[in-house]
């Protein structure tokens, strides 16, 4: 059985960037937000690679990437992502900021998914990152699923193993570094992915060329969505957390071990 896989992925600042919140009249944002280099949200990127892998194994399947972010940034980041795996882009022009409301974001994503021409809801798997690296809430995909009437949902997913009939087994992260194992009779379902098990695919110019055909038109067609801040913010700050580090340089390993063991036993 083939799948129609829709991957929801936002953009986040490159994790190596320093982030500084600034309070505006309406609420917080990031300093130089428009200039910060962005990447596709890491766990959502894993979801995209897993989706492409699954689609390849199931002839007739198709992957869409639905992304809500400022259009100009989407264009930049997708030039790179488009070289990785084949997909059709559905772009929604709106803020990518972590302080915005998950429900409004979910509403915009669900509307965009519902409007995809040719999408078969009975074959639909909604994929995305379990939690974003910006809002880091893990609520958006659940809300998208509810809006689309999908009540088979899985979060913190590291593996989906599909059988010949389309039924699948899914591993979800739970406490203690373990996975909960569940079975589901098949699509439609929502999977919020964690790391999964695939590596980032190498860049492929052919895939890039193919994606480019739908990418630019999708960006031009991108509808604007209004996604307000989640609430009235009293503050947003990076807590100053600098510690006075005692640097111990000329102690023997045995003496250090002794000190560490005493500290552990305290």
């Amino acid at each position: 059985m083939e799948f129609h896989i829709v991957v929801c992925a936002g953009l986040v600042p490159d994790p190596l960037q320093t982030l500084e919140p600034v309070m505006g009249p309406a609420g917080p944002g990031l300093k130089n937000e428009a200039l910060l280099p962005s990447v596709i949200d890491p766990w959502a990127a894993h979801a995209l690679f897993e989706a492409a892998h699954l689609a390849r194994a199931r002839p007739g399947s198709k992957v869409w990437l639905v992304s809500l972010a400022p259009k100009a940034k989407l264009q930049q980041v997708l030039m790179v992502v488009a070289q990785k795996v084949p997909f059709d882009l559905v772009a929604v022009d709106g803020p990518a900021n972590g302080f915005t409301d998950a429900s409004a974001c979910a509403a915009a994503l669900a509307d965009a998914i519902a409007a995809i021409p040719g999408l078969d809801r009975q074959k639909l798997l909604v994929f995305g990152g379990w939690e974003s690296a910006s809002r880091a809430a893990g609520t958006t995909l659940q809300m998208v699923g509810e809006r689309l009437g999908i009540t088979e949902q899985f979060q913190g997913v590291d593996a989906v193993t599909v059988g010949a009939d389309g039924a699948f087994e899914v591993l979800e992260r739970i406490e203690g570094g373990r996975h909960q194992v569940a079975t589901c009779s098949g699509a439609p379902a929502v999977c919020g992915w964690a790391t999964g098990s695939l590596h980032e695919p190498p860049n492929s110019p052919q895939v890039g060329m193919m994606n480019m055909r739908t990418l630019m038109p999708a960006l031009q067609k991108a509808r604007a969505a209004s996604v307000p801040l989640a609430g009235a913010f009293g503050a947003a700050a990076v807590p100053s957390a600098r510690r006075d580090t005692r640097v111990v340089k000329d102690m023997s390993p045995d003496a250090i071990a002794q000190e560490i063991v005493e500290w552990i036993r305290q």
Partner: protein
């Protein structure tokens, strides 16, 4: 203040009908919030069996206990859990719904809010009301920016991070439970729990100590060789002797994933940092970690921190740890294990 504002806490029971610590923390937070708002609070229970939990909370002061119970609700499964929670919240007419930040409750917090036509916030580390205004504190950008905010939208589902509030403790009492009827169909079934394929359980959220291992353990050492076996026995020996939890840097867990299998017991579930977890432990010992500033948030919630590194300027330690020992971690940890009797 709105005197009709109602507070509800929804918790899942364990297989024996008891409540685990995160559930008791959520009850305590809901109780305190209701007191600040001068409004009653209600308890919602979901699980196979709920009477022991209701009895344990008998004197917590809840205005009512509602429950969705039965074998179908023993499973941590989205379809049944979200239906149960929505049924209870609707029966109570709740404006504020507190749930614990367990994997089970987090799986449905957003879906619950959507069903109720409300909003949700997760990973909340503080909730309080002042002059009738409820505000929460949570981290944005994965533990990098801390924000305080309030919302006017209701119902508001608030998932409270575990370990951030004291657990409710009090005498048991007779708690009358009202059953809430919920009908739900699902195409999913939970079939079990799988421990890491490596056989050894190394992630222990309740441990006093977190050992963070970095990629240095798998790098060529002074003699130009990689000492995988020594690294493995140093780390596993320490975990067995100290009962510590094991965290790893992204570099290290990625290596295991790439089949280098230098430290086969390391999985992505061990990863701490910006795209991993930020566990809460009283103490943390980082060994062979360099990291960059954003990734050191892996031990944001570790209170006392020490590090062992060959490089005194290691980014994981300077300004982040209380003590950095400039030394060979292989030698230090071998001796530590001897002293611990490993």
């Amino acid at each position: 203040m709105d005197p009709s504002m109602s507070v509800l806490v929804i918790v899942h029971t364990e297989s024996d009908g008891a409540l685990a610590t995160p559930a008791l923390e959520a009850v305590n937070a809901a109780r305190a919030l209701a007191q600040q708002l001068a409004t009653p609070f209600h308890v919602g229970l979901v699980g196979a069996v709920v009477e022991p939990a209701a009895a344990a909370l008998g004197t917590c002061g809840a205005a009512s206990f509602r429950a969705v119970a039965g074998d179908a609700f023993a499973q941590a499964r989205y379809a049944t859990d979200v239906a149960a929670a929505a049924g209870i919240a609707t029966a109570v007419g709740a404006d504020l719904v507190i749930v614990p930040g367990t994997s089970r409750a987090l799986r449905t917090a957003g879906g619950l809010a959507q069903r109720l036509g409300g909003v949700a916030d997760t990973h909340v580390v503080g909730v309080a009301a002042s002059a009738g205004v409820v505000s929460i504190t949570r981290w944005f950008y994965r533990q990098r920016i801390e924000g305080t905010m309030s919302r006017t939208a209701r119902p508001w589902v608030i998932a409270l991070e575990t370990g951030t509030t004291p657990a409710w403790a009090g005498a048991p009492g007779a708690g009358g439970v009202e059953a809430v009827a919920v009908s739900v169909e699902t195409r999913s079934a939970v079939t079990g729990v799988r421990a890491p394929s490596t056989g050894e359980q190394t992630v222990r959220p309740d441990a006093d100590l977190l050992l963070v291992a970095g990629a240095g353990w798998t790098k060529k050492q002074a003699d130009g060789q990689v000492h995988a076996e020594a690294a493995q026995s140093a780390i596993l020996g320490f975990l067995r002797a100290s009962k510590a939890s094991l965290g790893g840097s992204k570099s290290l867990v990625d290596q295991s994933g790439e089949g280098q299998a230098v430290l086969p017991f390391m999985t992505h579930l061990n990863q701490v940092g910006q795209t991993g977890s930020s566990p809460r432990h009283r103490k943390g010992l980082a060994t062979c970690c360099h990291g960059e500033e954003p990734h050191v948030i892996g031990w944001r919630f570790v209170t006392e921190r020490r590090a062992v590194n060959l490089n005194a300027n290691c980014g994981w330690a300077q300004g982040k740890a209380d003590v950095v020992y400039v030394a060979d971690a292989f030698a230090v940890m071998k001796k530590v294990n001897e002293l611990l009797g490993a």
